[in-house]
């Protein structure tokens, strides 16, 4: 088993969040009544012509540039011909041998090409299924038909199911930060197909691949690829060979079923689309789009792990959610001289999970906790003005009400008791209350210190500095 290597390429379709469709003025929609966003153009009525949407091109170029692709000086559209009820013209306007952009890289995966095309409509099967000559019927809803799409095709550089999921998440965050798509897999604005094959580890040749479709979440993407890799390995281990086919992932069963192979092999009869003129993005337009690119998640993550020394997973969580990353950086700036790692912990480990628990949201910037407040709180904990437990209580108050940590500490009487008579009195009281434990500590059993410390904490409502308490116990006993 272990001497097989997975070779995976991904094909991602991204619905662009333009206002109108690729070739007509109908607005984009999701979940509306069927066929309320249509017109003669997107229904392919006789005599209609496509009119290319400028913003779709700009969005496509932003994706291409963000992925480090080379934009073609001149690209044209092609017609991809096939019959299906969700394809009103009988051809999809797409790009073929001169895509918008090619080359490029995201993370460890090279990008093969980026091209523009139009989405198909939605076909809903309503009749009975399973019978070979069943009188089943389907309904076509053309609302989605003609939505602008960018198709991103990677080189077969992905080496495992988890890696595929991680990479797809990185891509999603990258595209999301460009602001050019909703990138919602459940709603289909991000769709991921995988070409999967295996080969003997170290081999340079490519095995026969299968194409996996319909994995409409990152979890399903990983599960689908895992299942397919296992299937291929057991086939090959059993002396059989993999057959090139398209497999459909069933999210309910987690199974892969082959799409029945069509009687004729696909023959799309591509040819240049005469109704649209070539695209030749000017250097000015490219410069303008490049200048407007935000810092992308990959670069941000690298900056966090490199410059700030954050752990990889924390860095990714901050970098992949731009709002959280920005919040983190504001907090760090407010916390003069603080350790970046400590502040990152406060944001990712302490704050975000509590926000999620509190109201389901996870955007700190939208919460009542000001970056300056979190920075102040972190500072008080660091300098032991308050205990860790108290700090969490202050945080809970901040989440619920907002405000200044110092004022909350004052109001709630949470300042740490780190020395003095008050603490000594509390320790003496604990020794009196727990004579047995005190005896054990005296006779060298250090584990019994815990009992005494617990009693002190209880008495001081957690405000005692644990280090000081330990010192006092040892001193008194």
């Amino acid at each position: 088993m272990s001497d097989w290597e997975a070779v995976i390429g991904l094909e991602i379709h991204v619905q662009l969040s333009t206002r109108t469709k690729m070739f007509c003025g109908c607005e984009l929609s999701f979940g509306d009544e069927p066929n309320v966003h249509t017109c003669p153009v997107c229904l392919g009525h006789p005599g209609t012509l496509p009119a290319l949407n400028e913003r779709a091109i700009r969005h496509g170029l932003a994706i291409a540039l963000a992925l480090g692709c080379e934009v073609a000086p001149r690209s044209i559209f092609h017609r991809k011909n096939y019959f299906y009820p969700d394809l009103p013209k009988g051809y999809q306007i797409s790009q073929y041998d001169t895509p918008l952009a090619s080359g490029g890289r995201l993370g460890d995966v090279r990008i093969h090409r980026v091209h523009l095309e139009e989405d198909a409509a939605k076909l809903i099967h309503v009749g009975e299924s399973g019978r070979i000559h069943g009188s089943g019927a389907s309904l076509v809803d053309f609302n989605r038909g003609g939505t602008p799409l960018v198709e991103i095709v990677t080189e077969p550089d992905v080496r495992g199911a988890a890696e595929a999921r991680e990479w797809a998440q990185l891509l999603r965050e990258t595209v999301r930060q460009l602001g050019v798509s909703d990138v919602n897999m459940e709603e289909g604005s991000l769709r991921c197909d995988a070409n999967v094959s295996i080969r003997p580890a170290g081999s340079k040749e490519l095995g026969t691949k299968t194409e996996l479709k319909n994995m409409n979440s990152f979890r399903f993407l990983e599960r689908g690829i895992t299942a397919e890799l296992e299937r291929q390995r057991s086939l090959v281990d059993g002396g059989e060979s993999v057959v090139q086919e398209t497999l459909h992932f069933d999210p309910t069963s987690g199974e892969l079923t082959p799409l029945r192979s069509k009687e004729e092999a696909h023959d799309y009869r591509y040819f240049p689309e005469p109704d649209l003129v070539p695209l030749a993005p000017s250097p000015d337009v490219l410069d303008e789009i490049r200048a407007a690119l935000p810092e992308l998640p990959g670069a941000r993550r690298d900056r966090y792990t490199g410059e700030l020394g954050l752990a990889a997973d924390i860095a990714a969580q901050l970098a992949f959610s731009p709002a959280t990353g920005d919040y983190y950086e504001q907090t760090l700036a407010a916390a003069a001289g603080a350790e970046p790692r400590v502040i990152a912990n406060w944001v990712i480990v302490e704050l975000v999970p509590r926000l999620r628990q509190a109201d389901g949201g996870d955007d700190p910037a939208a919460s009542r906790v000001e970056p300056a407040a979190l920075a102040a709180l972190a500072g008080m904990a660091q300098s032991k003005q308050i205990s860790h437990g108290s700090a969490r209580e202050v945080l809970a108050v901040l989440i619920a009400e907002g405000g200044e940590p110092a004022a909350i500490v004052e109001r709630e009487g949470l300042a740490q008791i780190s020395a003095g008579d008050e603490l000594e009195a509390a320790v003496r009281a604990a020794i009196e209350a727990e004579p047995e434990a005190a005896e054990q500590v005296r006779s060298g059993n250090d584990r019994a210190i815990g009992r005494l410390m617990g009693a002190v904490m209880k008495q001081t409502q957690g405000r005692a500095d644990p280090g000081e308490v330990q010192k006092l116990i040892r001193g008194l006993l």
């Binding site: 392919g44 009525h45 012509l49 019959f83 013209k89 591509y270």
Partner: protein
Amino acid sequence: MSAPELLDLTVAQALERIRSGELGAGEYFDAYASAAAGDELNAYLWRAEPGSTPSGAHPDGDLAGVPIAVKDIFCTEGIQTTAGSKILEGHRPAYTATAVRRLTDAGARVLGKTNMDEFAMGSSNENSAYGPVLNPWDRARVPGGSSGGSAAAVAGRLAPWAIGTDTGGSIRQPASLCGVVGMKPTYGAVSRYGMIAFASSLDQCGPVTRDVTDAAILMRALEGRDACDQTCTGIDGGVELPRREDLRGLRFGVPAELSGDGIDAGVRAVFERTLERIEELGGEVTETQLPNTAEGISAYYVIAPAEASANLSRYDGVRFGLRQPAEELTEMYETTRAAGFGAEVKRRIMLGTYALSAGYYDAYYGRAQRVRTRIAEDFAAAFERFDFVVTPTSPSVAFELGERVDEPLAMYLSDYCTVPMPLAGIPAISIPAGLAAPEAGGPELPVGFQIAGPAFSESRILDAAFALEKTIGFTLAPAGSASQPGAGEEGR
């Protein structure tokens, strides 16, 4: 003025009378509506009622009240638009084609929708699902195609003028065979929006008129940029009305490939006489070569069917038009399209699908596109030496109905004088140059003379054609047409 006289006016003449108050716009329209109602040529597939109120026509426009016949390939809101096909029987478009809209915005009124070869595929009009159009000069003969209904209606005085579409000669050849003027503009001069597509990289809308002045008036109204057709730029500077009286200083190239072997003797005689007239008017006539145009038919009959095969995929029984009942999707597609398309359309879909299919693209489509480049280069070189290239429009006069239906290739080959221009995207006009007897004998029939110029040279072509038209003096109307109870004999 009597109705027959009214029907002999050119549109320019009628407009003059309408403006001077001598003629009522309603009267003019009704005279044609009545003439169209008596259509014996099968030129119309739909006609407006006499006295019908104009819909959306602007009473103050340049073309106020003028009737226009529209090829049934242009979508007209609420009015059946079939493109001559059974698959679109009863199809009422939700919108109006830009070209038609421009005319009605200028005040013109749609007189009727003219018959045509199905989806504009044909050179004889025998491929209409609604029966052939008859040539008004001899009803046993074809009017040419695919805009045969438009040409026959204009020649037969059933319409003062018309619009058609030209992909490989579909305006110029029927104009030639019916003795009227027909112009194919530069690709991109007129919007294709709402014009049912045959071969998208070649199709252009243009005028079919009685004379060159009317062609200029119509071109002027038709051309112009359209946001709905991104390949359309209109003509920079518009179109000017022709006024030239002579051809002094103009150089005319006569390409051997399009004027030599294969041209019928009678047509050749008229062509040569016309060349003499050019010289008489001070023009310079020189023989030249356009070597790659010899491959025009081959390139055209790859590119046009290939594009058509995709353009006609939308007739699938899902959203509009004919559907054959079926249990299963593929069966529905196959039976619907088998029942809805005629033989020629199927032939071209098959040809185009084959030429694009795996393994054949490079040999056919790819090579045809390169031939296209070569042909455009030939013209570009010629236009460095000449102002115009002139040829006979059609190698023969109108042929008999049924004569070529069993020989698709022979029919295709007869287009060789007209296909090179759309392949190069350049404009060309056909004007009536005289009459000639068919090779097999019989009464004389119209012969067309073609003038092609560089891209967007419409005004110059019209100007030259205007001067030539004057000396040719072709004012004949076919015998038995709505305005001519007997034959007209003058004018040769």
